[in-house]
Every structure is written in structure tokens, then in C-alpha cells.
């Protein structure tokens, strides 16, 4: 059943929100110990919310477009009075004093929030192994990672724990786990979804977005969470998206460019089976009437380097607030500065420390121009190159991740290898553009491959047209 069908069934009284929740809680009970998708399952709260939805329906009211749908929320998004840990010891025991805007929007739409999902600490990682709560496993093969950093949300949808989940994407943290878990993941345009209540990692790159089993379900969830929010000054002053017509519009006449650098061109390390799936995706879009050609976005080659200066630089500043003074646990010491050092040293994991130091270095006297200043200029080049490409094309296409899901422990000793997982996704964050990953085909290991559709700023609508065609073609083949 699609989300929309379930919503209609509950609204018509053919099903109860409580039954829908129960069956998902049962699935969670069966497999959560093995998968570890959740930092917290909110069983009691969810049951209460489902009861409330059922009584609203019984009174003849319409609780909203997500009536009774269980949703999982990444644990770096604030939920009032409910632990929000960012999978870090430095937020152990902290209870947010307010709800994120998207949490309010989900509840206003009738959704039932089922739990908080695991992530790489502070969303820094590509495997969900850097977590104070232990790694999340890929439901399709539990010896493999689910990707990251929103690996818990991707795994929750892939395992059938919830039909929908919320993640955040700073350099690929929604799209790459979606690809590795065989689900749909969308990073909207920067500013499309309010960041109010999202714990900041790199503020000029962070964006919240949906996970779903299908493109239509992802569109529905994005519609609910999008739209202007006065509480976020970087929020785009536009009403919520309406994507319904995109799902059936097709791609006839659309011009789609395959990014040469990410499909066998300048950037190495994209595996052959992933490239084979990309070829099939090109065929599918072509036979649906799109005009698909290879094109160059030259500075994507430099995206990774620029990102791994800019994101840590912003993180080093954002994470300065965790000092044991206003929230979170404190390690006692004789003086304030000793207390701060002791608290931060005990509270942060290695990857977070690595990035804080990298960012601090890139911003420090003598190195600012060489690293941070230079990277900001590369960001301009990337935006210019995308602008040039979008003069010729409506959309761009690439693989989402260089490989299928890799074994746990494979890259934990070599941070740079882990960072290379983001090679295809990072440029969209630097440019602020939307991009989505749609499952398309499999690797030689039988694990899913994701194809990434990229669009210019604010054109989620055209992006979903191509996403829907890819999904239909992929289902036709399997």
C-alpha cells in the first residue's frame, strides 16, 4: 500500500491509525535489535498520537495529508521533551525545550512520530558507524553499512519500520544512504525546508528532506514539510511545494545532461556496475522521450576538497556551543576552561574531533586564505558551472554513490576513503540545489544502486518528473 492509499483508508474508516502503527511496531520489534535504526522508539507517545488521529477521524474531521502515517525522524532534529542526541555523548540526557518546525508540520499533517533514528555523530559520516549508539546495519545485508549520515532513517524505511522518514543532508547524507538501502531520498533546495530545530552542522549546506519507499510518497512528505518559516532566516519565502502533477507528467522533451566527470570521466572510483546502471537509466529516460546527452560540469572535480574545508570550518564554529555550560552533561574540573576541555574531550567522538580540528585549522591565522578563502571561491566556480549546464539542460544525472553498500568497518580507519563516498552528492550542497536519489538496478553483489537526478535551485517539480519515470522503468525491469 502506498502512503496515500493508507491515508485514504484511515480517513474513510476502513483502517485505524492504531492498527497501522501496531503492525509497524511489530516489524520494529522483530528486527530492530539486528538493525539498530533507532536511538529511541517512542512507543507510548506514538500510541497516544495514533489514538488521537483515530478519534479525530471518528468525529468526522480530516487530520491531514499524512493521517495516521508512522514517520521516523533523524535524531538531530529537536523534539520537545524527548531526547535528541545527534548520536553524541555530549548531548546525553538533553531534552530539547522546543519542537523543530518540521516536527510541528508532521503532527499538523496527522503523522505519527514513531522514533528518533541513528546517525553518524552530528551527521558527520557516510556509514552510520560513528555513533555513540553503535552502528546501524543495512536491512538488505546486515554485514553492510546503510550509508550515512542518515543511515537510521534510510534503514527504517528499507526495513519497513516506517513508510516515511526524515533525514538531513549536508554533503549527501540523505541521498547516499537512500541509494545504499534501495529507497528514495531527496535533498530539497537549500532553504526549501525550515532548519529551525535542526541541530546545526554546516549551516550554509544543511537541508532537511524526506525518505520514502516510492517517489510519490517522497513527494507527499516533501509537500508537508516544505514552505516558508519565519523562524528560519534562510527559509525561501515561498508556499509549500505542489508536486502531484509532476508524478504523471513524464519527461517528453526534457533535456537531461549526464555529468561526464561523475560517469567514467575525470573522477575515478565510480564502480563499473554503478556506471552500468546509469547507462540503463539513460536508456529509460531516452525511451520516455527525454533528450539525454553527456555534459561537463568541470569544477565538480574540486567539490570534495572545497566541501571538506567549508563544512568542517562551519562545524568548528557551530560545535563551539557544546562546552558544558548551558546544556548537556558536564565533566567537572577546577576552572571553567578546564571544565570545557574535559567536557568536550569526553563528549565528542573521533570523527567530530577530526572535523572540528580540520575546520579550526582552515580558519586559523595564516591558513584562512589558503584553505577557507580558496574553497569559498571554488564554491562560486561550481555554482557558475551548474548555471552554464542549466542553460543547455533542464536536469542533470549522475550516480548517487560510487559503489553499493560496503561492509561494516571497511572505511573506518581511513577518513579520506569515507569522504570519497560523497563525491557525487557534495556539489549540490555547495550550490544549494535540489537533488534526489531513486533506486535503479543492482550491482553485481545484488545490492541496490541509486541514480541521482539534479535540478536547478527551486525546480523540485521537474526533478520529480524524471524521478517518477526512473522508478516506473526500474519496477518494469524487476
Amino acid at each position: 500500500m502506498t502512503v496515500q492509499e493508507t491515508v485514504l483508508a484511515i480517513q474513510k474508516g476502513e483502517m485505524k491509525a492504531q492498527e497501522v502503527l501496531e503492525s509497524h511496531l511489530k516489524t520494529i520489534q522483530d528486527r530492530e535489535e539486528e538493525i539498530n535504526a533507532f536511538n529511541l522508539v517512542m512507543t507510548e507517545e506514538a500510541i497516544k498520537e495514533a489514538e488521537k488521529i483515530d478519534s479525530l477521524v471518528a468525529e468526522g474531521k480530516n487530520p491531514g495529508p499524512l493521517t495516521g502515517i508512522p514517520v521516523a525522524v533523524k535524531d538531530n532534529i529537536c523534539t520537545q521533551g524527548i531526547p535528541t542526541t545527534c548520536s553524541s555523548n555530549i548531548l546525553a540526557g538533553w531534552l530539547p525545550p522546543y519542537d523543530a518546525t518540521i516536527v510541528e508540520r508532521l503532527r499538523d499533517a496527522g503523522a505519527v512520530i514513531v522514533g528518533k533514528t541513528n546517525l553518524d555523530e552530528f551527521a558527520m559520516g557516510a556509514s552510520t558507524e560513528n555513533s555513540a549508539f553503535g552502528p546501524t546495519r543495512n536491512p538488505l545485508d546486515t554485514t553492510r553499512v546503510p550509508g550515512g549520515s542518515s543511515g537510521g532513517s534510510a534503514a527504517a524505511v528499507a526495513a519497513g519500520f516506517t513508510p516515511l522518514a526524515i533525514g538531513s543532508d549536508t554533503g549527501g547524507s540523505i541521498r547516499q544512504p537512500a541509494a545504499l538501502c534501495g529507497v528514495v531520498g531527496v535533498k530539497p533546495t537549500y532553504g526549501r525546508v525550515s532548519r529551525y530545530g535542526l541541530v546545526a552542522f554546516a549551516s550554509s549546506l544543511d537541508q532537511i528532506g524526506p525518505f520514502a519507499e516510492t517517489v510519490a510518497d517522497a513527494a507527499l512528505l516533501l509537500e508537508v514539510i516544505s514552505g516558508h518559516d519565519p523562524l528560519d532566516t534562510t527559509s525561501i519565502p515561498e508556499p509549500p511545494l505542489d508536486l502531484s502533477s509532476a508524478l504523471t507528467q513524464g519527461v517528453e522533451g526534457l533535456r537531461i545532461g549526464v555529468i561526464d566527470e561523475l560517469s567514467g570521466g575525470a573522477i575515478e572510483g565510480i564502480s563499473d556496475d554503478v556506471l552500468a546502471c546509469l547507462e540503463k537509466a539513460v536508456e529509460a529516460l531516452t525511451s520516455a522521450g527525454a533528450i539525454v546527452e553527456r555534459t561537463s560540469v568541470p569544477s565538480t572535480v574540486y567539490g570534495l576538497s572545497a566541501y571538506y574545508v567549508i563544512a568542517p570550518a562551519e562545524a568548528s564554529s557551530n560545535l563551539a556551543r557544546y562546552d558544558g555550560v548551558r546544556f548537556g552533561p558536564r565533566v567537572d574540573a577546577k576552572t571553567t576552561s578546564e571544565m570545557m576541555v574535559a567536557t568536550r574531550t569526553a563528549g565528542f567522538g573521533d570523527e567530530v574531533k577530526r572535523r572540528i580540528m580540520l575546520g579550526t585549522y582552515a580558519l586559523s591565522a595564516g591558513y584562512y586564505d589558503a584553505y577557507y578563502g580558496k574553497s569559498q571561491k571554488v564554491r562560486t566556480l561550481i555554482m557558475n558551472d551548474f548555471a552554464a549546464a542549466y542553460e543547455k539542460f533542464d536536469l542533470l544525472l549522475s550516480p548517487t554513490a560510487p559503489t553499493t553498500a560496503f561492509p561494516l568497518g571497511d572505511k573506518t580507519e581511513d577518513p579520506l576513503q569515507m569522504y570519497l563516498q560523497d563525491i557525487c552528492t557534495i556539489s549540490s550542497n555547495l550550490a544549494g540545489h535540489p537533488a534526489m536519489s531513486v533506486p535503479f538496478g543492482q550491482g553485481t553483489d545484488g545490492l541496490p544502486v541509486g541514480i541521482q537526478v539534479l535540478a536547478p535551485a527551486t525546480d523540485e517539480h521537474t526533478m520529480f518528473r524524471a524521478g517518477a519515470i526512473l522508478e516506473a522503468s526500474n519496477q518494469g525491469q524487476s
Binding site: 548551558r326 585549522y361 555547495l430
Partner: protein, 100 residues
């Protein structure tokens, strides 16, 4: 572009970032940070002289909210998150004269 980051550089950066590292950690982080920064050296190939920097992807400038009364922050609620509180204020260990 620059010399490989040294152990002393990393120790200095750790101090700036309020982190304390063991000797073993310092060695490991030095190698890892050096590898990452070496990768970033590919930016040296670019001529960026005339390129303007981008700090932010959106053309939003001077965003103000309407000057209307809203809900005030609940002081109690925020203080409740703190490790130590006294007289409605965050309490910390001695901060002055700590080096004497």
C-alpha cells in the same frame, strides 16, 4: 601549497578547539589531517584570482521578521537543560584568576 601539517600544529589547533589529545591520538590525527589537507591541495591548480567567494547559496539579504510581539522564551525551560544553575543563571567553576 603548504607544508604538511605538523604534530605541533595539530596540538595548537586542539588547544584552540578546547580538546585534549593523548600522544597516540595526536599522532593519528596528524596523519589523517595531513592526508585530508593534501587532497585539498588539488585546489592549487585553479586560478582563483578574479573569482568572488560564495559564503551562502541563496540570494536572501537582510531578512527581518515583522515587528510583532511573539511568545517570549521560557527562562525556566532553558535553565532546566543546564548542568548547574544558581539564582536563575548558568553556574560554572571559577573563570577568573585561574592561571595564577
Amino acid at each position: 601549497m603548504n607544508e604538511r601539517i605538523s604534530r605541533e600544529d595539530v596540538a595548537h589547533v586542539a588547544r584552540l578547539a578546547c580538546l585534549s589529545l593523548t600522544d597516540v591520538e595526536l599522532d593519528a590525527f596528524t596523519n589523517q589531517l595531513a592526508d585530508i589537507l593534501e587532497h585539498a591541495a588539488d585546489l592549487d591548480a585553479l586560478d582563483l584570482e578574479t573569482v568572488e567567494p560564495t559564503a551562502h547559496p541563496l540570494p536572501l539579504i537582510n531578512v527581518f521578521r515583522d515587528d510583532k510581539l511573539g511568545e517570549a522564551v521560557d527562562r525556566e525551560k532553558f535553565l532546566a537543560s543546564a548542568p548547574e544553575v544558581e539564582n536563575n543563571q548558568f553556574k560554572v567553576p571559577p573563570a577568573l584568576g585561574e592561571h595564577s
